[in-house]
């Protein structure tokens, strides 16, 4: 008979590892950049959850805010910015 407790203790981290890696790969394989920005949060959140599993609750909190919220927002904002037509002015500069 399998101990349910040990099964859960093992299965949850392994699932999180798979999520982190697959999230990273899938995010980088997207054609649509906005989807990529959203999918970045999957990997970030999985890494935050792994921190929690590895006995680091306060680091997990920081990573959850930074990796799952701030970074996708920043990437999404810059993707939206790069969808606007570019400004074609000649930039002055010294050689």
């Amino acid at each position: 008979m399998i101990d349910v407790n040990i099964l859960v203790q093992n299965a949850v981290p392994l699932a999180l590892y798979v999520f982190a890696i697959l999230g990273a790969i899938v995010a980088l394989m997207q054609k649509d950049l906005l989807k990529m920005a959203v999918l970045t949060s999957v990997s970030g959140f999985a890494v935050a959850a792994i921190f929690q599993v590895l006995l680091a609750p306060d680091v997990a909190l920081t990573q959850a805010v930074v990796g799952a919220a701030i970074i996708p927002t920043l990437v999404g904002l810059s993707v939206l910015k790069t969808r606007e037509p570019p400004v074609t002015e000649d930039v002055e500069g010294d050689s």
């Binding site: 590892y17 006995l55 970074i71 790069t82």
Partner: protein
């Protein structure tokens, strides 16, 4: 034995994240994807440091009032790596923000996000040949 799989798995995940980041930096052409790849390298290193501080059958390193000192010392995970990772996460996020801002500025000037078109040495070469 069962729980050491957790630590080994975390180390392997960290290594894979670093490799994914490097592959993205070398093979993908889009500048934004390169930047995200660079962020994944940072994530991988952070994960590795966290995995180093892990303790099998341990408890978090936060000392509460009603805990026994001796059993806390025997069980708590090592807090130094976690303190370092907090700094490292913030540094990574700020670096990422600056890189994204640069990518946006470059897009506004050149109208493309392709690294081969943006970050080549064609301009310099033309100047040299004048």
């Amino acid at each position: 034995m069962a729980i050491e799989i957790v630590q080994c798995g975390a180390l392997i995940t960290a290594a894979l994240l670093m490799i994914i980041g490097l592959v993205a930096l070398v093979y993908l052409d889009n500048v934004l994807k390169k930047i995200i790849g660079a962020a994944f390298i940072g994530d991988g290193v952070n994960l590795l440091i966290i995995a180093l501080g892990y303790r099998v059958n341990g408890i978090p390193y936060i000392f509460l009032q009603n805990m026994d000192v001796n059993s806390f010392l025997g069980q708590a995970s090592y807090p130094l790596p976690f303190a370092l990772v907090l700094t490292s996460i913030v540094i990574g996020a700020s670096t990422l923000a600056v890189m994204l801002a640069l990518a946006v500025v470059l897009y506004k000037r050149n109208g493309t996000l392709s690294a081969t078109a943006l970050l080549n040495d064609k301009k310099l070469g033309e100047e040299n040949n004048e």
